[in-house]
Symmetry: C2
């Protein structure tokens, strides 16, 4: 997908949200903003928004010399972890645990403090679970899953990763070998190895990083090791809008589990904003 002019106000809103995470002084914030505006002037609008936001978030981290989301990521992981036992019980008690865990993984994508300024996880998840899946390729997913031994699982946000753990545990219970993929280093509220460790995912499946600090998965910017794994993967689960933006043209058999959080992506998909998707490539 291309970048729309409607994305541009949102880029700056994301910048405000990132800068406001840490307080900090106005002079530094203004300096960061001028650098972000310079990046936006050179934005390649023919590329997905994730390209420009990757540069923007690098600039923010460089400008304040920290990862603005470090603390809140830990907090949201902890909140989500506190919900984990009851969510696991819910999955296990359901007539179709794989379906319930998939649905929870999509619901968990509502946790995105890089876009939303405040979020009540429990309430948001409950609401997401009441919402119908707008695009639902679950039946096809189950079939594809039966034909494969391995799943490459591209993770998205902190907090959300606990919901992914539920789905990964179901995939493991079905005898699949799962490799979960985190970002190479800090970017926005995306998970890194540290988050996988915090929520106990490292003990459940192999976790690798993609060697990149890009929003979504911009393949040319990932490590050769990751690219090899990606190329060899028979079945990919891709979480989040950033991964959808950057991988929607892939020829790999990929299932995109996410919520369309912005007007631009929703319009492109012909859906209402905040639609829940289980979409096949």
């Amino acid at each position: 997908m291309k970048t729309s002019i409607d994305c541009l106000p949102c880029f700056l809103k994301q910048t405000v949200i990132a800068l406001r995470q840490l307080g900090g002084d106005e002079k530094t914030h203004e300096k960061v903003f001028r650098d972000v505006l310079a990046i936006m002037q050179d934005a390649d609008m023919s590329k997905p928004p994730a390209y420009t936001t990757t540069f923007i978030h690098r600039t923010i981290r460089d400008g304040i010399d920290r990862d603005p989301f470090e603390k809140i990521k830990k907090e949201f992981n902890a909140i989500a972890l506190s919900l984990y036992p009851s969510l696991r019980d819910r999955v296990k008690a359901s007539p179709d645990p794989l379906w319930t865990a998939s649905r929870l993984a999509i619901a968990g994508n509502i946790i995105d403090f890089g876009i939303f300024t405040s979020i009540d996880i429990e309430k948001s998840i409950a609401q997401s679970l009441r919402t119908e899946i707008a695009v639902d390729a679950f039946a096809s997913f189950r079939e594809d899953l039966m034909a494969t031994e391995e799943v490459l699982y591209l993770l998205d946000n902190a907090g959300e990763i606990v919901f992914d753990r539920l789905l990964i545990e179901e995939l493991k219970a079905a005898g699949k070998r799962v490799t979960a993929v985190v970002k190479g280093s800090a970017v926005l509220n995306d998970v890194t190895l540290e988050d996988a460790f915090q929520v106990g995912l490292s003990g459940i499946c192999e976790v690798i990083d993609n060697g990149s600090d890009a929003i979504g998965t911009i393949l040319p910017w990932t490590s050769p090791d990751f690219r090899e794994r990606f190329e060899k993967a028979a079945l990919i689960i891709s979480k989040g809008q950033g991964n959808f933006e950057t991988l929607s043209g892939t020829e790999k058999r990929t299932y995109f589990l996410f919520q369309s959080k912005c007007d631009v992506v929703s319009r492109e998909l012909g859906l209402m904003p905040c639609s829940m998707l289980f979409r096949r490539s």
Copy 2:
């Protein structure tokens, strides 16, 4: 007031709204955006937001070689005019016509298609009339009015000007000489001489223009004629947030009638967003 970093996403949102008024081609829009981003990079954050948005809206008009709001201004004037007879009856039938007309003039400030993407005038006005005035200096205004012969009335938006006409008619009925002030040329959805003519204000009081295309009233950028009138004015009614931003430090006895439409101004005032104000300088 100063410009906050929170204003910056809003500047771009205003740019999208302006560009979307006319359709037009993507290439031109992108070019305009890059020019707007360049302006924002040089923004003087120590000045009110109206300074930067003045430059931005000039750039938009230059970039598309038209006034994007020309058509919608006429439409909103016409819609508001269709409500005029019933609003006038409401004023005349009320126990305190001056108060009712003042309140309607503040309610009319909700009409701002430069900020809101869609608006149902009748519904918005009805809602505004149900809302309590958060800062109410009407009693003081009535006293000041009794002590003066003349009022300088700084107008704001198209559509809203019909509500101003109601208040101006009450001021005239009270024997005051009113001079209504429009912008020198097109800017955003602000009124010019053409709008005053369209809604019949020209036949009711003297209408002058301020010689400027600035958002609000940036005195150094107005004409010498207007500045003289401003300096001599004993009592000023100032409509809208733009005029408040740019004139709130004035030593002139001024009553600011407006709604605080954004988070930044509302925060500065210590009020909830969308508060209605009848505020004394």
